[in-house]
Symmetry: C2
Subunit: 386 residues, 2 copies
Amino acid sequence: MFWLRRSAQWLGQRQQRSMGAFRMPMMDPKLEDYSLVDVEEVRRFIRDCLKRISVPESKLRCISEFLVAADYRGIYGSGLNQLDLYLNDLRHRRADMDAEPEIIRETIASAHVNGNNALGVIVGNFCMDLAVKKANNSGVGFVVANQSNHFGIASWYVLQALDHGYAGLVMSNGAPMMVPPRSKVSSIGANCLAFGARGRDSYFMLDMAASMKDIGSIEWALTKDEYIPHSWAADESGYSTSFPMLAMRNPRLASAGAHKGYCLAAMIDLLCGVLSGANFSTQIPPWKSNVQSKSPNLGQIFFAIDPDFFVPDFLERLDDFNECIKNSCPVKAENPIQLPGELEMRHMHLVEKLGGLPYHKGLLKKYRSIASRYSVRPIQLFSKDD
Amino acid sequence: MFWLRRSAQWLGQRQQRSMGAFRMPMMDPKLEDYSLVDVEEVRRFIRDCLKRISVPESKLRCISEFLVAADYRGIYGSGLNQLDLYLNDLRHRRADMDAEPEIIRETIASAHVNGNNALGVIVGNFCMDLAVKKANNSGVGFVVANQSNHFGIASWYVLQALDHGYAGLVMSNGAPMMVPPRSKVSSIGANCLAFGARGRDSYFMLDMAASMKDIGSIEWALTKDEYIPHSWAADESGYSTSFPMLAMRNPRLASAGAHKGYCLAAMIDLLCGVLSGANFSTQIPPWKSNVQSKSPNLGQIFFAIDPDFFVPDFLERLDDFNECIKNSCPVKAENPIQLPGELEMRHMHLVEKLGGLPYHKGLLKKYRSIASRYSVRPIQLFSKDD
């Protein structure tokens, strides 16, 4: 089978062994809506599209890996689904395909990085790598980046820390698309936060937006031609809507837990935007606006912690913690309590079982249109003879 | 007037000047239910109670200051209201009044502290002080403590970082009193998170629990003899309740934003409990349990960031950020958008205007019973001639 990161491989092996104890039923999608695609074929498709707009050869792997990783983890809204967004950003020079991030200032434990408007994933990989190196020396590494771009799923960078046996905390601000309580308009991003750590037989991976749902999930519902719950977003006139199309036009997402989600988003914006010297709040250009050609100048923070510095038996302690939560009495035995990251892990197992990525017909249609727009060979479905 | 911290003084002066721009209407409590008490008198009362159980003279000021600070900020549930809890903990040796925290291990940017079961506020002050010193050297300071106790409002320690011009992030785990989604029982604490930073003319101070409301707010409703909203907590049989008395018995708080609040609480528990070597989740003895005499062995993290290391104009940028949020179009002009910490700031101004702390008659009744139990002079109400 294929593996996206060493940590994923490690987790898969471990998790499979403890599957009995964890009782994770495999998720079964409605099979008639899905078609299997070989992971290598998805990578090929992404690389072909990127080559068409002259992205340097050295960056193809890095971009294709992180998009495939989101799909592999089942977060389809932030995976290949966003390829269009990245291609547009690169074509319109909102992101610079040749740029490399650089360190502005650093100490033994912290650094300030200028992303130089490189692609978000390039900045993210660079910064988490730096944070891990710093944590190596001083127990913790804290890196703040500005002049960055949309960087996909935040858990991708946390996994990078997990690869080195560290715990990771990653945050990013984003275009204003969340409505603070008492407000009529979106004035803050549905900023994201990811935190993860690994134990000996289990892991913990929280990846959340401060809104009820992120824009990717709404776009994903649109792709699947489904309604969304009324609590997710409002339309342009401020009324909650169940039509993803209306929710996507000038997005007004509801914050999670009313003022708590908004306060958390403000904290993330303060750390990522204000502290880094990047744009924040309404300074960030609107999402997917085609009229503007300004770079978003997003800010991000990357925090790596070496657990061994604090406790010698962190791996066992994390397993115990996960057991504590899992074993707390569920309302229905058939609906066990879920740990953050468990749903994603279950999807990864499903992909392995199926031998390829199950793509929804709505997504495949979108990819065919991308293929014809960029004149590349469309994604080929998995054939049983492969 | 009196001031609790340099930062409070600083903030009061600045905020008063910009009051016009911020349009903060003074909060008016129902005056017939409240009586004014001089701050010095509250301090005297706390000190007298603590002396009765032989708390060392050197610690009296530190404890009384942090309890008064919560009331001054209007967080009555976590202020003097909790004196009873601290006195009980000290009497039953669940906290050690003579203990001092000590450093187990440290690098230039991080430290692991053993709280030695000292009072939470002693551990908290020590750790934030250490984090600030470390941030001085390396831009950031990260301190993790175990063997600690309940430490009151987390924003107290963040204010300590603000005093030095730093941004602060503080988290603590607590006794399991929050119900994860799909679970019947409380298996995780309503763990708290506070983050703050200051600008030139405004400040930002988020202090939140991962539950819809913390247990202090429910206790505060009980004291005021009020109902609570159905969304806050469930009773012992698992049904949501509007009676604070039922919600307090074996607490089952609802998490904020359903699974997001629970995931956040789990992240905090992982950082504070698992990483520090303290108790976590259901290992922590139940809240206010009188049968047990075990120390809770709580864990806490303290993170100080020097904003000057990252951007030279952080103060102005923070003011701009706050303006951005405040100026986003409110639904009703008379209900402007509130920043985290604004409600507390408004209460501080009210206290200054009144010249004393307005205590609810329910609280004063509770204090009279404490006074008679510990044979100290009851709290004297403010007289106009003072």
